[in-house]
Structure formats: structure tokens, C-alpha cells
Symmetry: C2
């Protein structure tokens, strides 16, 4: 084993130890716990070198070493060995997710709950981005005078709807006429290409007075725009309070404060995804300072995607302390992702 190889082993050992004990690790305990065929003095030299390379650091002059952000990065990129889930864990997760009844929303919520429960960290599940998916059907149904339901069927069988207000004296027949023309002209169009103008041109041929038409069109338009609204299911925030990493109240406060703006978190995930543009099934891992969200400096953020049909996907991930068992968490996310894909397929088929 070359000297360089050993240094990397040392880094790996430091990360492993620090993750489990949450104590800066010193040369002596390193020797005790792992069987390095060298003395502690040698490890001290290696550790000094690793520090020079910026991979580990000491909290204080006379303390052991902890991994730096770059150290974790090196660990995750090159040193980590992936392990797999125990059967017990699989059963636990499956149980929670399979109890979902009927709606995608339940499924996503339960997946998030299962993920935060098994990891002990914060889980994140976002509804799929529908902006790029296309409109397969659109019907406007009269509920009662003045009130209608816009029902949209999107690619991959996703159904969205919204109650809208319409002019009181619009008749069901008139509404049907509008609905049919709109559907005819929008059919197959991607959601994000639909504008108010598109809608207006689609009903040019009808004989319904503009005054009535306009309100219906506008409401239909808002319904379409709202169809791709992003919902975020964050779960397990309170888990972070159990971690020694956040035993300082101010850290915990900053963290939970930021996490309470789920829109911010979602926005950040979308940014990350843009950078990795669309390579699905891969894991995006952000460590410590790499995360551009206030209060998450001591966290790592792991995300990946789940699928709804072929072209539509949503995000799923975990926010935990930098000091986490990356390998384990990734396999946990992976299994939840698998169950989620599966559940959605069953629901939407």
C-alpha cells in the first residue's frame, strides 16, 4: 500500500469514526479502532498532510481532527462504499408507503414521512414539475349557475382540476361550446406554451358574447396555470433537534427557520437540478457550504428524482447533518424512490 493510499484510508477512517462518534478523532483512537499497521506518530504525520491538503481540520489546537467540507466531498466521491438496506428496513418503509390510499398526494406525503422516519433526518418530496407536460383533455363542467369545474388531463394520466366562477347566466350549452372549442385547440399543447392569447383565438368562432366569454377564458387560464403548482412535503424537521450537531439552539433555530420556507427549499432544489440538467437517477449531493441556503452550513442535502410516466419527474431527497452516514441514507432514499415510482405507476395506470 502506497503512502498516498494510506492517507486516503486515514481520511476514510476519520470520516467513518467522526460520523459515528461525533467527536474529533485523534491519532490514538484511530489506531485503536482500525488496524493500521503503523504507529500513531505516522498517522499524525499523515493527518498533518491531510490537513495541509484541506481535507480535514481541527476545531482547536489540541483537539482531534474532523473532516472539512472538501474532506466529505472526497469521501463521497471516491471513498464511500455503498451498502444495502436490511430487510427490516425495507419492510418498515414498504409498510408505510403501501398504506397510501387512492391519491398521489397521500403517496407523496407517506413517502416523505417514511423517508424522514427511517433516516431520522428531514425528508423532502416535491410534486412533479408539470410545466412541460401537455394537455390531453380539458373540460369545463357546470356545477351550478355561476360555478364550474375545469378538469384537465395531462400527459402520463395526471388529472388536475379547479372550481372556477363563471357568469351567472351562462347556460350549460354555452359552456359546453366554449369547453369544446378550447379543448380542440389546446389538445396536445405543453402547459407552459398556453397563454391567454392562445385561449382567446381558440374560441373566435363561437357566437357567445365577449363579455361572457372573457371571464370564462380568464378563469380557465388561471386553472391551467395553477395545474402545475409545486407542492412540497417536508417532514421530520423536529428530528434535527435530536442531533448533537444542532444542540446549539441558535443553529437549530436558523436551520428550522429556513426549512419553514418550503418554497425557498423547493426553489433551491430546482436550481440544483438545472445545473445537473435532467440527468435522472443520479444523486445530487451538496455538502456544507456548498448549500446556498442560510442555516444549512452544517448540513448535507441529497436529492434525486422519481418518475411519473416517461417524461415527468419530481424530486425527492434528504437534508441531514454533514456528519451523516451517506451510504446508508442514499440507499434509504433509493428504496423510497423505488417504492414511490412503483406506487405512482399503480395509481396512474
Amino acid at each position: 500500500m502506497s503512502v498516498n493510499d494510506r492517507k486516503m484510508k486515514v481520511l476514510q477512517a476519520i470520516v467513518d469514526d467522526y460520523v459515528t462518534t461525533n467527536e474529533p478523532v485523534g491519532s490514538k483512537s484511530l489506531i485503536e479502532r482500525h488496524n493500521f499497521p503503523v504507529s500513531s506518530a505516522t498517522l499524525r504525520n499523515d493527518m498533518a498532510e491531510l490537513e495541509r491538503m484541506g481535507l480535514i481540520e481541527k476545531p482547536h489546537t489540541s483537539a482531534g481532527r474532523i473532516p472539512s467540507d472538501r474532506g466529505y466531498r472526497e469521501y463521497v466521491d471516491s471513498l464511500m462504499t455503498l451498502d444495502s438496506l436490511s430487510d427490516a428496513e425495507r419492510i418498515e418503509i414498504s409498510g408505510r408507503i403501501d398504506e397510501s390510499v387512492g391519491e398521489v398526494r397521500d403517496l407523496l406525503k407517506n413517502a416523505s414521512a417514511a423517508l424522514s422516519e427511517t433516516t431520522g433526518y428531514v425528508s423532502l418530496v416535491m410534486t412533479p414539475k408539470l410545466a412541460g407536460s401537455s394537455l390531453l383533455q380539458l373540460k369545463i363542467l357546470m356545477i351550478e349557475p355561476g360555478k364550474a369545474l375545469v378538469v384537465m388531463v395531462l400527459s402520463a394520466g395526471v388529472v388536475k382540476d379547479k372550481v372556477v366562477r363563471i357568469p351567472n347566466f351562462l347556460t350549460p350549452d354555452q359552456l359546453k361550446e366554449i369547453s369544446d372549442s378550447v379543448e380542440k385547440s389546446l389538445n396536445g399543447k405543453p402547459l407552459d406554451e398556453i397563454t391567454l392569447v392562445t385561449l382567446a383565438t381558440s374560441v373566435k368562432e363561437t357566437k357567445i358574447p365577449d363579455s361572457l366569454l372573457n371571464q370564462v377564458l380568464y378563469e380557465t387560464y388561471t386553472a391551467i396555470k395553477q395545474a402545475d403548482r409545486l407542492d412540497v412535503y417536508l417532514d421530520g424537521e423536529h428530528n434535527m433537534l435530536k442531533l448533537p450537531d444542532f444542540s446549539e439552539l441558535s443553529r437549530a433555530r436558523d436551520l428550522l427557520g429556513t426549512l419553514s420556507h418550503d418554497g425557498m427549499v423547493a426553489g433551491y432544489v430546482n436550481e440544483i437540478e438545472k445545473e445537473n440538467h435532467g440527468s435522472s437517477d443520479t444523486y445530487m449531493i451538496r455538502i456544507g457550504q456548498e448549500i446556498a441556503l442560510e442555516g444549512l452550513e452544517d448540513c448535507s442535502f441529497i436529492t434525486t428524482t422519481y418518475k411519473v410516466g416517461d417524461s415527468i419527474s419530481g424530486n425527492i431527497g434528504v437534508i441531514g447533518p454533514k456528519r451523516m452516514d451517506y451510504s446508508k441514507v442514499i440507499s434509504q432514499i433509493d428504496f423510497v424512490r423505488y417504492k414511490l415510482n412503483d406506487g405512482i405507476k399503480k395509481l396512474n395506470s
Copy 2:
């Protein structure tokens, strides 16, 4: 002023001081801050008496006094003076709530956000209980072979729907036949009186084979049952970390742990409401140990109802430290409640 009156004044002063300073209040500072026309020794006697009555207590032998749960109770029931909101607060709250677009769900979420924001505590908004409301319309619409949408209109104009799976070879005409018979026989029935049997009898006369019928009926039944699902919007949990009352990490952990089970909190609110059965517009206040939820021993829980139409109502409230400005919080809830009632009326009219 009688001696007894003064004792109550002293209690009031202690609560007021303790709420603002979060320090046990002693006889001397009491004299300084309020103009009692007596000496500190006299107040000491009064305080000893109040303690004998169980209304105040000392954390330690040589500390000042803090209100006991019963002390707060006395304060809330008899001593508190209600004040009103500042214009700035009204505008702040109105702004947040008025920006809601289109859906009741947004409105509830925003109301909850506004409430947690202005109080600085945890807010709670629950969707209305629909179990008792009745079914005015029910339509089952074919979306594509194998998939249909069940649309229900309930009292007070509330619309609910759910995508369900149906047998692949069921024709739109058959579906319409089922839909019409079901609607005819269920019309006006309260949701909680509808059973699978009710549904089955309603379609006895149709000529559709049972094998097809049963799945549709079952799915419709689950759609109806799911219509009155209770959603809970808890917001501002992280605010609690800012309070000195929860600067002990373990307290904060217990509190947020319990609050993360929003189902538990919702269940508790329903219990409270049953006890107060249905007297609307009143405030239900639980203080400290009166709250039967783990981790909320140092909290107070104030709830009331908002209205959707005449007969349907939901709950809204705040969870904060016992040591809160009750009067202020109540007026804040009251204003949010008012804005919420108003917003719903506008949406549903």
C-alpha cells in the same frame, strides 16, 4: 379598595410583568413598576396568600413569584382586559390573506401563515368538518377508459372530487346511468349517513352487470368518504425556538415532536370542541397542564371556529407559551378569523 380586590390586582400585575419580562417577579419590582399605595411588605403578605390559594408559585425559595396554571386561568377568566389591534397589524394581516388566489386551500394556508407571523407563535387552521354536511350533487365523469372523476357538490357550495379507477370496458353511457341513479338517491343525504349499502340499493334498477357495478360503487364510496378528510395547516413551529420558554433543548424537542403529528393535534382540537359542543364564536382556552398533549405542558392553546356557510365550520387557533399576552393573541386570532370568514364567503358565493 378591599383587601381581596388588591390581591387580584397583585395577581394581575404579576401576570402582566411575568409575561413581558419572563423573570419571576418580586415584591420590590412590583412596587416599582405599578403604583400600589402600600409597601413591599404588604405585597409580600398578599403574595404569600395568593400562593396559599394556588394562584402563584415560586421556582425556588428565594426567587420571585410566577403565575401557576390556575393563576393564568383566573387571569384569563376574570382579570384580563381585551385590547384591540393596531391598524398596522390589521393591514399586515389583511395583505397576507387577500393575496390568496382562487382556492380555499390557499386561503387557509395563508390565514395560518398570517396568524403565526403576527403572533410569533404556532398557528393552526383546520379544514371544515364536512361529515355532517349533505351531498347536493354527485357526478361520475369518464376521463378515459378505466379512469373516471367523481365530483361532489356539498352544502354551502363546497366542491370535492377524486379520480377513481373503473373497469376498462365500462362505456360512458353506462357510467352516466350509474352516476344518475346514485345522484338521484343520495341527493340531500348527509355524508356520514352514506354507506356502501345505500349506494348499492340506489342502483338496483340499472341493467349493468354486478361485476362492473361493484367496482364503480366501491370507488365512489371511497371518494365520498374521502371528501370529508381533515387537513391541518400548522405553521410557525420554528417560532417556538425563539422563545426563552423553550431555550431548554429538551422542551423544544418534545414540543416540536408532538406538533409534528398534526393528526394528534387535530384530534385534540376535535375533543375540545365536543366538550364545548358547538357554541361557536367562543374562545376555547387551555392552559398548561390542562392540555392533554405531551410536551405542551408549558403552552397555552387557544382555539375558536370560522364559518363556511351556515352550518359548516372549521377550527382556527394558536399554540404559544403559557406566558403569552392572551389579550393580544385573542384579538389577533379574531381578526384573522374575520378575514377568513370573509374570504371564504367571497370564494364560495
